[in-house]
Every structure is written in C-alpha cells, then in structure tokens.
Point group: C2
Chain length 527, copies 2
C-alpha cells in the first residue's frame, strides 16, 4: 500500500492521537492539537473560499507566530505552496522574492506593514494581503484586506484534502536562500522531501514522544521548519519565541519545562554570559543544538556547564530541508573531556537517510581521512526538488547526481564532518547568509564604482561582517559612508558592508575572475 | 531528490556511521557493523555468482541465527527476494510454500535437514540447498550443496547494489501467513513497505540510538523483521535468542545489558514465574512488548513488578509488516494504578504513518466510542503490496481502499483499539495463527469424515488450542486418536486438534455456511 508522503499526515496523526495535549504556546495563546488541526483546516477552507488555486504561492511575513505554524499545514491542505519570508530582508529583496515566486496571497504581521507598503508597487502579482493579527488600518493601508487571518478562519468551513490525491513529489514549500548567486533563489521542497526529512531528523535525534521544544530559530528559516514537522508527528509542545530575548527565553524554559532549543553561536554565547540565567529553573533542558555557524569547543563546554545539558551542533542548508548532520556524541564510552567538546563542535555525522562525501573540483570522491578536504556533497531524502524556475542553477548544484553544498570540509574515518571553509563567496553574519555577489552587484550599481569585491572579516558579535574592496572609476570620488548609504537603500542592514576600503586593483585569474582567496589574506581584517 | 526507500540503506548507514559498534551477538559469535555489512555484501556476491536472478526467491529455514539476519540485507543486495520459513511447519506445508513461491535457493540449519529430506521430492523448483552452518553430510543428503553459507561468503566478492537502481515498489520479502484461508498465503512486502514500517516503528516507539534489543521473537515471524530493520539503522545491538529458554534469556539480558525484548503472553507468564529470574541482574531492561495475543492487565502488572520496567503491547499482522499499534502509555500524567494496566493491555493506539478505523459488514465507518465494534481496517505505509500471486484474495483484503485485518475491535475516543474478537476462523495457539479452514481441509481428507468444523477452546498454556467437531460418513467408524494421527502427517503439531468430538449435525446458515459462532457457544470447551 502506497500512501503519499506528505507532512499533512503529521498533523492528522497528532490531532487524532494527541488531541488534548498542548500543541502550541505563543505568548498568552495556547492551543491543543485538536484546535491546531481545526485552525489549519479552517485556513485551508478560507484560502479555497478566496479562490486560491492548487500550486499557488501563499506568503507569510511573520515572526514565530502560531498562525505561521498553522500555515505549515493549512496552506498545504489548500494544495497551495507555503512561502515563508525572512523578516530581515529589505523591501527590494522581498519584492524580488514575491515577484520571482509570483505569490498570490500574503499574510503579514502588523509591524511589517510599512515594509509591505514600500515594496507593494513593485509586486503586481499579489492579489490579497491579510493581517495576521490586529485590526486592519485600511485608511493608511488601503490595499489591506478587511479580513484578517482570524476573521477568515472564524468564518471558514474546515477543509482537509484527501491524502490520497496528493502527489508526494509536488512542491509544497518554497524558501528563499541568498545562496551563492547574486539573487535569492527559491528552494522548492516537495511533500516527500519534508516528510522524510522530518523522519530522518526524528530518528537521527532520537526524538521522544511528547517532547517540549522552543522555536528559538525563526520558522521562516532553515532549522525552524524541520523541527516543526517532527515535533508535530510526535505530539510535542511547540513553544514559540517571537524574537530572541534572553530573559523571555529563560522564562519560557521554566514556565513550559522546555527540553530543547536551538541557536546560532552568538545567541548561545549571550545566554551563557547572561546575568539572569541563574534566576530561572532550567533543569528541564535536555539539549541545545547550535547551528548556522561553527561553535568553538569552548562554547560547547561553557554551554554544557551553564545549562547542565548536552550541547552539540546541527549542520545543514536551506536546500537540504535543512538538517544533514548532528554532532551528538555517538560513542559516549570512548570519548571524554576536551576531546568530547571538540567532537561536539564539529558539523557532526549524517542523520539516517543521509550520505555525505567530499569531492574535488572534478567531482572525484576524496579520501575520508580527516585531513583531505574537498567540497561537501550529499544525497539525502530532504534535498530539495530544485531551485524555483532555475533549471540551470539546479543542474549545476546536482551535477554528478549529488547535491553540492559549496562548503569545504574533511570527513574523518569515524564519519564526522569538519567544515574547513565556507562556500567561497558566502559571508555568514549572525547566522544569516550574505551573498558577496549580491552585495557586489549593489555596490557596482553606484555610478562611481568600477570594480567591487566583498569579503568577510571577523567580528566579535556577528562572527563575520562584509567588507568591500572598491576600485573607483577614473576621475570619480566616493567616501565609505556614501557607499554604505547607497547599499542601505537596496539591502538588509546586515548585508551592507561594515567596512569599505578603496584599492587600486583587484587580483584576478587568467579568465578574469577576482581571486577572493588572495583578497581575504591581504584585506581580511577590519580596515 | 528522490532516493529509493530500501532497507539496504539502513545497513549502509550503520556500517559507515557505527562501524566499530557491536552489531550482532549470537551465542559465541559477535560481529561489528563493518563485519555485518561485509558478510551481507559477500552473501549478495555469492548469490550472484551462483546465478541467482533479480526477483528470485531465496528461502531460509533457520532459527534466529546471525546468518538469517545477514540475509535480511544480503539477499536484497543480490536483488533477490527473501523468504524466511516458519521452522514449526510440517514438511507438507513447507513444500506448499516453496512451490507456491517457486523458491530457487534454500539455506537450512543442520537440525532441519530431515524436514527438508521429507519435502524435497515435492519441490522440483529448488535448485540449490546450502547448509547455514556445520559440515554438509552429502552421503546422507546427496542433494545438499558441498558449499555452506560460510564457505560461500568466504570465497565471494562483496557486492552492493547501487541504491538508485532499486525500484522501491518492488517486492523484497515474502512471509507466509496462515491467514484466513485454508492455504498459507505469501505476504509480499516492498522495499518501501519495509523501510517506512521501520521508520514508523522507530518513531512510534521513541527508539534511541544504540539500543540493545534481544530477538526473542523468531526472525521468520511478524514482529521479528520489523525490529531488525529499525535496530540496524539506529546502530543498535542485535542479541539473538535462538529458542525460547528462560535461563538463557535471563543470562543474555545480564551479559549484554539488553534493554528491550518481546514475547507472546505465555512467554512472559513463564518468565514472571520462573525461579531463576531473581538470580540475574535485569536492571538494563527498559521495556517488554507483548504481542501475538492480548495479555491480561494482571500479566502487565505482574511483569512490570517482576522486571521493574514498562510492559505494554504491540499489535499488528504479517500483512502490515507488522506493527500498527502500541499501548505504551501516551498520557502518563493522567492515568495510574489498575487503569494504567488495563490501558497497557489493550492493542493500543496507532504508530505514526498508520490510520485505523472500524467498519461494518458494508465497509461503513463506525463510531469510535469505545463501545461500538466492527472489523478493524487500516491504511499504513507498512501494509503489504499484496498476497503473492493471489490477486483475488488481495482485492478482497483491500476492498474500499483499506486493508481489512479481520479482527473485530472497538476504538475509543482517545484512539485506543481494543480487540473484541479475532478473525472468525482463526485460532491463536502460543502466538501462532492456526487457520481452522486449513485444519478442516486436512480432516476432510480422511475417508471417514463427512463434515468438519474446527473451533478454539481455551488452554491454560497456549491460550487456545483447536478442537474438531466431526460428522462421520454413514457406516464409517473413526476414533479421535486415529483422526489426530492423520492430521499429524499433514500439519504442524500445534495445528492438530487437541480434542475431537463426534457430532450428528453441524448448524448452518441458509447458504450452507457452518455457524461457527453457535459451535463456539455449544462446544467451546475441552471435551
């Protein structure tokens, strides 16, 4: 018997088997699995009543609200495609994403209405914009639907699609990543991708039934959506953290007996050093997973000591649903002390359903000796269907049948992956990917700029920040603050260069490509 | 990215990620996952070298040997179909199964050679018979290959099929069940069935990485093969119990720190009451799962007290890979004392990936109120592809899109299934299914028998045993011992009637079907 693999089955199961359990805690809002499923079904009904067609893209501009979590299922039950948006993006970036995906419907939190107002003229495909909560101010925002998420589902007839009519290989979610190219790319995940990724993660993480997890990572982000699905099928409690606020995080752990949360290294560093930490009962914690960037063994040790729980990493990409690896200690009897912290600071070893290899530039497999490094490639059930409407970029990423992560790594004989270097051009700042190409293209748009190269420089708080190396056009003048002001018009703040250095030439390869490696060596420090 | 779902991936994963862990303990034999995978690959190489073709059936007549466990993967890696045989069957039954499946190759433990000698003349399709262990006595058994399992794999080149070439919907395992009809039926499971069943079971059972499980249920049996697969992918330790011997079971728990085992009620009853139990350190046990027949709440309580661990049921059928349900307490905060034991003695609530409903005779869904009962039907990823070469029986079992278990049950509002009655005609004796039709057909083959009906009667040790009600042909005489002797020629011992009662008439419906229900009421006790 073949039953289509779709995450819709997760909520169906939980609603029937864990009906009265608490499903979601979001500020003062609490729902059971019965209510969670009912609201998701009503969202589906409302979308259908508003003529959303199968395969339509339905976007959300939201923090970690219970409504966004409901949409993980409700949008799919309308046979539409969920498109969660990164709330940190600039209006021009959001306009690009909404146009590229030709989204028909947008749900938005009140705080982001000015952002919508800024990009709306450039997004003619948007048919309806609904407020997620609050009362629509249609005087200020005349394009806003008078119906909010809440009034929509209040009036709607619940709708659940017959699971058997679902094509498990159809796209159900799109997330945009900055990726390696200059424009965000839509990562298209199928029902089967999402389903099997959740299963691989649950088994790889030895997830217990009825766990309590805090969504400390945005639900619009790699990491967030993987957890949401396996937590639902195991009847766990979703504790929403709308923004990173250490005191609120501590309070929620104590109040909801949170067992698991996840963070980027800077978040965990802040929590370890926070004066309020010892004021709360955090004894319910079982583990903290660090992702987004490599933590130091020191941070692993400090966090384990501060929280009296296991601390390890998770590694993955938007394109892989995301999780591929965990550094959760797999041989607890054979490793202790500082060696254990070092092992737990690595990217880790693959989850079930996941194969990882390293390859050279010609896609030859390299030895897994812990020394040789190459590009990390993977084959896993969670690897995306492809980039939305980008068959060439997709083919490039999947060459030779393996998905190319762009990360340089070693693999040791025990199967542990250590990241050696990141994708050549990507800067990771506070857990966010920044495409240097995208920043360069923005800088190159300034009339005084001849050539631009953006490289990472170390930053105490954010890990890395972008630094721009600029060759001016002859007879032109420009100051660093002027160029940064130009960038801010087009890019999210975190993508704008923190430093600008004007240079005479940029070193290049024979075929004219800028030698970033050399630039990093020469200029890879705050100027 | 779609990667075929096949259990072969489980051993590939474990061999790479848990290479040095102990994989199998079988008497004095121990292997790591590296060795387990190497031997499985060598078995595949040996089969291919002996011209086994894709889709060929390779049978095993074996207790819980490490070789049978290796075959779970090695036979599949040769792209052949694994056919484990029930060692308790009579030669005529084995002959039927091997002929029905037209198996080409048989591996056999030395102790079963006389059985093979007895059925071999009736199985012309068998091309090769290899001893699993020991030295072939080709003088006594001239049809025995001089090459044993061990010499085969010693000489073989390891072979691993490219996972991408596997059709996940192809049949990879066949198990014969006595089912409801008079002849054993081959339950054909696909790679996808087996893969997803293992995943559903692992998540439903909250299986931890690196668990230690004793295979106390035969690996040729429903239950055994489900556990084998999820234990492999999570890098657990397989502890083989070749035959049910309480002292050996206790010894293995202590020696190998076994965390989980499974048994039918009679096994657990014996263990609870065994005088040697307290002589062993059984503190590693985390849970015992009881299946095959419904245990009493009293047994659950006694076993929890005797073993200081959780004791609950699992429910499933050969046709469902097998596990559908667990009675593992899902609301530990809301239930205690005798009520908890009652809940844990029920068939339980469905695993993820599994839906259960009850239907009336016209396949209308019935209310899940804990009172109304109907036939239990299911939709689950583990439900078989179909009965081997029996399209009509398959269509009948899958009518209306649901697999019909033949078990009568209630479902309560919390989702718990309680079995009310078994398939009308099935007798379950010591955890083995006995088809009353099959026994009746054997009895009807006796020249003196006119009509025969077989019903269950209660039995202290085996739960139930078959009782035969016989109408003799006019002017014929027959004694009970004579009839039982006749049955023993054709049937496994446990299927032979324990009691025979001669009657004048058998009550029938208008269409001539014997009214079993009435017979149970009138004669359902030892005569």
């Amino acid at each position: 018997m073949n039953i289509p693999l779709t995450p819709l089955r997760f909520l169906r199961h939980a609603a029937r088997q864990f009906a009265t359990r608490t499903a979601i805690v979001d500020r003062t809002y609490r729902s059971t699995y019965t209510q969670f499923a009912d609201r998701a079904a009503r969202l589906a009904g409302a979308l259908l009543a508003h003529n959303v067609q199968p395969g339509d893209r339905v976007a959300f501009l939201s923090t970690n609200s219970h409504q966004l979590l409901e949409a993980y299922y409700g949008v799919l039950d309308a046979q539409a495609i969920l498109l969660p948006l990164n709330i940190r993006l600039a209006p021009a970036e959001l306009a690009y994403i909404l146009t590229d995906s030709s989204a028909s419907t947008l749900f938005v939190e009140p705080q982001f209405l000015p952002v919508v107002a800024a990009f709306l003229p450039q997004v003619p495909t948007l048919k309806r914009i609904h407020l997620i909560e609050g009362t629509p101010d249609t005087a200020t925002y005349p394009w806003l639907s008078p119906e909010t998420y809440e009034t929509l589902i209040e009036k709607a007839e619940p709708h659940q699609t017959d699971i058997d009519t679902i094509d498990e290989d159809a796209v159900c979610e799109i997330f945009y990543t900055s990726g390696t190219s200059s424009r965000p790319k839509g990562v298209a995940l199928t029902h089967r991708n999402v389903y099997l990724h959740a299963y691989n993660s649950a088994i790889g993480g030895s997830i217990q039934n009825g766990s309590v997890e805090m969504h400390s990572i945005p639900l619009f982000h790699a990491n967030g959506w993987g957890i949401a699905h396996f937590l639902t099928v195991t009847g766990g409690k979703h504790v929403m953290l709308r923004a990173f606020d250490p005191t609120e995080l501590f309070r929620l752990i104590e109040a909801e007996r949170v067992q698991y949360f996840r963070g980027v290294p800077i978040m965990v560093t802040v929590l370890v050093n926070h004066p309020d930490r010892t004021k709360y009962d955090l004894s319910s914690l079982k583990s903290i997973t660090i992702g987004g960037a490599a933590p130091s063994p020191t941070l692993i040790r400090q966090a384990e000591q501060a929280f009296s729980c296991e601390v390890y990493t998770g590694y993955g990409l938007t394109e892989t649903s995301p999780t591929l690896c965990t550094s959760r200690n797999k041989n607890p009897d054979n490793i202790a002390g500082e060696e254990r912290y070092i092992a737990q600071s690595l990217a880790g070893y693959p989850y079930p359903g996941t194969r990882l290899k390293i390859v050279d530039a010609d896609d030859n497999f390299l030895p897994e000796d812990g020394v040789t490094f190459g590009e990390l490639v993977t084959r896993s059930d969670g690897v995306m269907h492809g980039y939305w409407n980008q068959p060439e970029a997709t083919a490039e990423a999947f060459r030779n049948g393996w998905f190319h992560t762009g990360d340089m790594a070693t693999i040791n004989p025990e199967g542990y992956v250590a990241l050696v270097d990141r994708k050549k051009d990507i800067i990771i700042s506070g857990g966010e990917n920044i495409s240097s190409l995208e920043v360069e293209n923005t800088l190159l748009a300034h009339p005084a700029v001849l050539e631009a190269a953006v490289i990472p420089v170390p930053h105490e708080r954010w890990g890395e920040v972008p630094k721009a190396l600029i060759v001016l056009k002859p007879s032109h003048t420009l100051t660093a603050p002027e160029l940064i002001a130009h960038a801010r018009v087009h890019l999210a703040g975190y993508k704008c260069p923190a430093y600008v250095q004007f240079v005479e030439i940029l070193p290049k390869t024979g075929t004219g490509k800028i030698l970033k490696k050399d630039l990093r060596t020469q200029y890879g420090h705050p100027s």
